[in-house]
């Protein structure tokens, strides 16, 4: 600690800190444009100038380390005069178009001009103007307003992980841009808008939608991924206008990803605004009473021959209540793991609650980690950010999976195993760990062979060493691996590798409330809190070959999201009754008999359990559109009317109490470890004809809500099949060709992208609307004979004809 004097008062501050960190901590106001605590120091705006005793010139507080005895004046006439000068300089070339600028009301330049500027300008010369760039559907630019603070540039390099914006030209002509007219593609790009202290970068979807001072703010939690970013929804007159991050150092720091930021647009698109029933082939909008009567009649008729599919983005209250209803009716089939392709998971790993096994902040402190079968950059962007920070500190973070994803951090080893070799590859790593540990190789790993799994044994050994020799290391099972047809095997082997290495074990869960769904009993073999129940069958069964007479879907879209959407289609067709509780129209809603409109997340209240085991509650930011109601109210009416005992809930809090109790019984707590998955067996490869499909989802095509958000869909473009250049050459296929793929369930025509990160024998075709017709997500596909030879067909081919 050092003693320094600020404005004459003595303070103890940590030695070596920059002055601005000290003044921020003490609540002393020092204005700034370029400094941001999450970025490196640039010291270019000079707005933070203060006076330091014995220095001839004013010093930038952001770049001046404190030292013992330092005397600082933050508000002396000299400091104020320096800032007045900076403000004058900044404004001479600024367009001063505040009346038509979206930043107005939350603009640092505006605020500081008021606080530190003078009322008039002496500048009488011509002003600079800068041509705009189109950065894509998410960020609007007005570069004449740019004050060259380089926050956006530094963000790209330091947080986004690659430089998308940079400064070209010199002096007054310096321009911020992409160099070559590209769009900005980082999944974290929206944060640059928040960072931009002026109106140079603003939100495109939000453009001219509201003035900041007329909006009301409602804290909320992002439903999309297990990080559970803290956010706020802003609304005017009950209309949602935008979403911004809320700083939480333990979770998302100052950032959110673009999915969380822009998915709110779905609130206004493709909503189910009224209850509907299908009469013959036609939809009829009806009153709640009519719709309820139809649903109740159907549910009474199917009785316990009922299955329920619940969204992993539903709240714990909705999840608890759905299983309460379904089990109360004597039914047993309930699941939230629509994409899970391993029908035997529950037999092998009784409890695969996807806890991270540590706190998010702990990821930052790791010095070694292995992510198996996942792409945290896109699946859990702000968990990935913690891993990036660990790497920046020198941690060795590795990946192992069926494809090499485009990364934004430097992996120590980024291993791609052969097609179908997921489990043998993990076994090879576990074996290498065992060998390096010197305690003998367990029997089930004796036969493991890195080379046979398509890996370089030396690299496997180095990876194993990095896990053993770290002080604090982790093995994390990624989203894709959790849904693999061999998920049970993979999870047990990953756990075995972690145990052998002395590493922590955890999961990178798929969705914002996957953990809650497990803990509240939205799995067929465990009740709330793991209570014993009469065991049912998983979605992989009831959404496939063995349907029930009745199906209830809550907030999900199995016809796109199921492990086999074609089989799910057949199950829906076979069912007598399908009640869909949904906020949006979807393939699934259209296949229903009764559609009950529910509130979308910004209109909802409830809580999610995050991957690190944190239960976070939020309230509604707006009223549900039209006749839509919060799902818990819909479920309550159904349960109560059908005579399910203990269903007289008046407040959502009463349900939360039960859900929370279930979470506690299930051992969900901050940083808690996931349960032991049971002993690992010998690993078997999978094989089949053609190319193995890897269905890792696209970040903007992941759940129903985001699929209905227009700007994100524009950024997404369309679903693309990525194959290896080798396979493409063999089949005469070129980048961008529209190619017909044939899977076990049917075919789909998709534009092809070539990428060396995909090994020969593999086709990365994300699960999604355009790929549903192929059938099993983890199936084997062939390029149709008709596609052999260059098609030259336009990429805009209509996916629906497939």
């Amino acid at each position: 600690m050092a003693q320094i004097f600020i404005n004459g008062e003595a303070h103890e501050v940590p030695e070596g800190q920059m002055l601005i960190e000290a003044t921020d901590a003490l609540g002393i106001d020092v204005p700034r444009f370029c400094y941001h605590r999450g970025l490196s120091v640039a010291a270019n705006c000079r707005m933070c100038l203060v006076e330091v005793a014995n220095r001839k010139t004013p010093a930038p507080a952001c770049a001046t380390p404190v030292s013992e005895g330092m005397e600082v004046q933050t508000h002396s006439e000299g400091a104020l005069e320096a800032r007045r000068a900076i403000m004058e300089f900044l404004l001479i070339n600024h367009p001063l178009d505040c009346p038509i600028c979206d930043q107005g009301g939350e603009c640092d330049l505006q605020d500081f001009a008021l606080a530190h500027g003078s009322g008039h300008s002496r500048y009488r010369e011509p002003k600079r103007a800068v041509a705009d760039e189109d950065l894509g559907p998410l960020i609007e630019t007005e570069m004449t307003r740019c004050i060259h603070c380089t926050r956006c540039v530094r963000f790209g390099e330091e947080v986004g992980g690659y430089a998308e914006l940079g400064a070209t030209f010199r002096g007054e002509e310096m321009e911020i841009g992409t160099y070559v007219g590209r769009t900005v593609e980082s999944e974290l790009s929206g944060n640059m808008i928040d960072l931009c202290p002026v109106g140079a970068l603003t939100s495109k979807p939000y453009r001219y939608k509201a003035r900041v001072w007329e909006m009301r703010h409602h804290p909320t939690i992002c439903p999309h991924c297990p990080v559970g970013c803290n956010m706020k929804v802003e609304e005017v007159d009950d209309e949602v206008k935008r979403v911004l991050p809320v700083t939480n150092d333990a979770i998302n720091e100052d950032w959110i990803c673009d999915k969380g930021r822009y998915s709110y647009e779905a609130v206004h698109h493709d909503r189910v605004a009224e209850p509907h029933i299908k009469v013959g082939d036609r939809w009829r909008a009806v009153s709640w009473e009519t719709a309820f009567n139809a649903a109740l009649k159907g549910l009474r008729s199917v009785g316990s021959d009922l299955a329920a599919a619940v969204a992993p983005t539903a709240t714990v209250e909705e999840q608890w209540l759905t299983q309460h209803l379904v089990r109360g009716l004597g039914a047993t089939d309930i699941d939230h793991r629509l994409g899970l392709a391993d029908p035997d998971l529950d037999a092998g790993v009784a409890n695969a609650t996807p806890l991270l096994g540590q706190r998010l902040v702990d990821l930052e402190a790791l010095d070694g980690a292995l992510v198996i079968g996942g792409n945290p950059r896109k699946d859990q962007p702000l968990a990935n950010h913690r891993l990036r920070k660990a790497v920046a500190r020198g941690a060795r973070v590795s990946a192992l999976g069926p494809v090499r994803y485009p990364r934004n951090l430097d992996h120590f080893r980024d291993l791609v195993h052969g097609p179908g070799q997921a489990a043998p590859a993990v076994a090879a790593v576990a074996k290498a760990v065992a060998e390096a540990g010197g305690a003998g190789v367990p029997a089930n790993l004796q036969g493991a062979d890195a080379e046979e799994a398509g890996l370089d044994p030396r690299e496997v050994q180095e990876l194993a060493d990095s896990l053993i020799h770290g002080r604090q290391t982790s093995v994390l099972v990624g989203t894709l691996a959790q849904e693999d047809p061999q998920a049970g095997e993979l999870i047990r082997l990953a756990h075995q590798a972690a145990r052998l290495a002395g590493a922590a074990f955890g999961y990178l869960a798929a969705y914002g409330n996957s953990v809650g769904a497990w803990a509240t009993g939205c799995v067929p073999h465990r009740g709330p809190g793991g209570d014993p129940v009469r065991e049912g069958r998983p979605a992989a069964a009831f959404l496939a070959s063995d349907p029930r007479r009745g199906i209830l879907t809550l907030g999900c879209d199995p016809l796109v999201e199921a492990a086999d959407p074609v089989a799910a289609q057949a199950a829906f067709e076979a069912a007598e009754l399908h009640v869909a509780i949904t906020s949006h129209w979807s393939a699934t809603a259209r296949a229903a008999d009764v559609v009950l409109p529910m509130a979308a997340y910004p209109e909802n209240e409830g809580a999610y359990a995050s991957g690190e085991g944190r239960l976070q509650a939020f309230g509604p930011a707006a009223s549900p559109v039209g006749e839509a109601r919060p799902a818990w109210k819909i479920l309550r009416v159904l349960a109560h009317t059908l005579g399910v005992p203990e269903s007289e809930f008046v407040e959502v809090g009463e349900i939360r109490e039960r859900a929370e109790a279930a979470l506690t019984r299930a051992g969900i707590a901050l940083g808690a470890s996931p349960p032991e998955p049971g002993p690992a067996l010998e690993a078997e490869p999978r094989s089949g004809p053609g190319l193995l499909r890897v269905p890792a989802r696209h970040i903007y095509h992941d759940d129903l809500f985001v699929r209905r958000a227009p700007a994100l869909q524009e950024q997404f473009g369309r679903l693309t099949a990525t194959i290896s250049p080798e396979d493409a050459a063999e089949r005469g296929v070129d980048e961008g060709d529209a190619v017909r793929f044939e899977g076990p369930g049917g075919s789909a025509r998709l534009p092809v992208h070539l990428d060396g990160g995909v090994p020969p024998g593999v086709a990365w075709i994300p699960a999604g609307e355009d790929a549903a017709s192929l059938g099993p997500a983890f199936g084997w596909v062939r390029l149709s004979d008709r596609a052999a030879g260059r098609t030259g067909e336009a990429v805009t081919a209509d996916p629906s004809e497939a």
Partner: protein, 442 residues
């Protein structure tokens, strides 16, 4: 041609009047590479080398005039395995400065030898020479000198069997003036855009690739071998007690024989002027910028009474800078000359920090307006005030540099500005007296 006294000995421009002076053989004939032998073979300790340089009174010849020996002593001791660097600033982009160019053309081996010695003294095993991109011949000659030195065993591993290694690379600039600012140069060597770094940390702690680095000018480093060979005291006595040695002055502008003149520190300006053949055409001297455009200009009366060393020029209200003496005779329109310089600084600001990025354009536009007849009297106060808010508020010294010509010209030649304002235009242009050469340059 100007001539030095018969017994005059050139230190850094040695050999300039010989045939093919830049070859290794010519340098060896002049006694080259004996200093580095004395250091490495003779077993001089690092501290002894630094002490000798301290004793010589050698100060940085790039413009800032920081004592070289002291700068070298700031380098931390080399840690095992991790490189430290010596960077030679050969960016020489200050208008009117062309001295390093001639050292590199005529005496490149002396620079190479100086770098080996300097590298040893500061514990650097790698050196970079950052050569201004527009310099072709100097680059070719320095590269040839490096190649010759490698072939002869003066560069590379285990020099003179001393266990000392030194590798030397050339990095060519791409034409930005600001790349001559030492930390911008480091960025450029790293392959980035040349933007000055905020200091602290200083290069001695955080230089190229974050490693301790010392940056010295060409002339500074070329002065080192003679200092080692003949002793710091000898060098010191060439000049004045506080400004040791000789200094090359690049004399340009309105003199009969523009060119480089290496003279002892403390030489009266009048003598240098005489050496350069005096003011051209018998015209009267009007003003001189003694150290390049980034130092204040001084009127004839003052400079004619001044000696050329750090202290005397300081007392005259200006600086020695890089020794770039720009001579302006009575035909010069000061406003037009300053407008030209302001345009230069406007064009060359790197643009990262607010006062310089915005202020350089402001200064230029106002002076341009005055020169072109649209000035207002209050503009002069605005110029001075804006200047005072640039100086001392920026990341690098470019801020002071861009203000120097503006503030000093208003101080000394205010009436010329006022004449422009009252007469709504340039009185000298109107009378046809304005120097053609200056007018063309503008």
């Amino acid at each position: 041609m100007p001539s030095y006294p018969d017994d005059y000995e050139l230190v850094t421009l040695a050999g300039a009047f010989e045939e093919e002076p830049h070859t290794l053989q010519a340098y060896l004939d002049r006694g080259g590479y004996t200093a580095v032998a004395k250091v490495l073979e003779g077993g001089m300790a690092r501290d002894e080398v630094i002490a000798e340089v301290k004793a010589s009174g050698l100060r940085g010849r790039g413009g800032a005039g920081f004592p070289t020996g002291l700068k070298w002593s700031f380098m931390p001791p080399a840690e095992g395995g991790q490189p430290q660097y010596l960077a030679c600033n050969a960016d020489e982009a200050e208008p009117g400065t062309f001295k390093d160019r001639d050292i590199m053309r005529y005496n490149p081996h002396q620079l190479v030898e100086g770098m080996i010695i300097g590298g040893y003294a500061i514990g650097a095993t790698v050196g970079y020479i950052y050569i201004r991109g527009e310099f072709w011949e100097p680059y070719v000659r320095v590269q040839r000198a490096i190649d010759e030195a490698y072939a002869a065993g003066y560069l590379g591993r285990d020099l003179f069997d001393s266990g000392v290694d030194f590798d030397l690379h050339i990095h060519r600039g791409a034409g930005a003036y600001i790349a001559g600012e030492e930390t911008a140069m480091l960025e450029s060597i790293e392959g980035k855009k040349a933007l000055p770094r905020f200091k602290p940390p200083f290069p001695a702690n955080y230089g190229i690739f974050g490693r301790p680095t010392t940056v010295n000018n060409v002339e500074t480093l070329a002065s080192v071998p003679p200092i080692i060979n003949r002793g710091g005291q000898w060098f010191l006595e060439l000049g004045t007690p506080k400004s040791g040695g000789t200094k090359i002055f690049s004399v340009s502008g309105h003199v009969a024989w523009p060119g480089n003149y290496e003279v002892p520190m403390g030489t009266p300006f009048a003598e240098l002027l005489e050496l350069a053949g005096g003011v051209r055409d018998g015209n009267r001297l009007k003003a001189v910028i003694p150290g390049g455009p980034s130092v204040p200009m001084v009127p004839a009366e003052t400079i004619l009474e001044t000696r050329l060393d750090y202290e005397a020029l300081g007392e005259a209200g200006t600086m020695l800078g890089a020794g770039s003496v720009i001579v302006m005779d009575e035909t010069t329109c000061i406003v037009r000359a300053v407008e030209r310089l302001a345009k230069f600084f406007f064009h060359e600001s790197c643009g990262q920090c607010t006062p310089c990025r915005e202020g350089s354009g402001w200064l230029h536009r106002v002076i341009h307006r005055i020169e072109n007849g649209a000035g207002r009297l209050e503009d002069l106060d605005t110029l001075l005030h804006v200047g005072s808010r640039i100086e001392g508020h920026t990341i690098c010294a470019f801020g002071e540099a861009e203000v120097a010509p503006v503030a000093s010209s208003i101080e000394h030649f205010r009436e010329e500005y006022e004449a422009h304002i009252h007469g709504k235009g340039c009185p000298m242009a109107a009378s046809g007296r304005v120097s053609r050469r200056v007018a063309e340059a503008g």
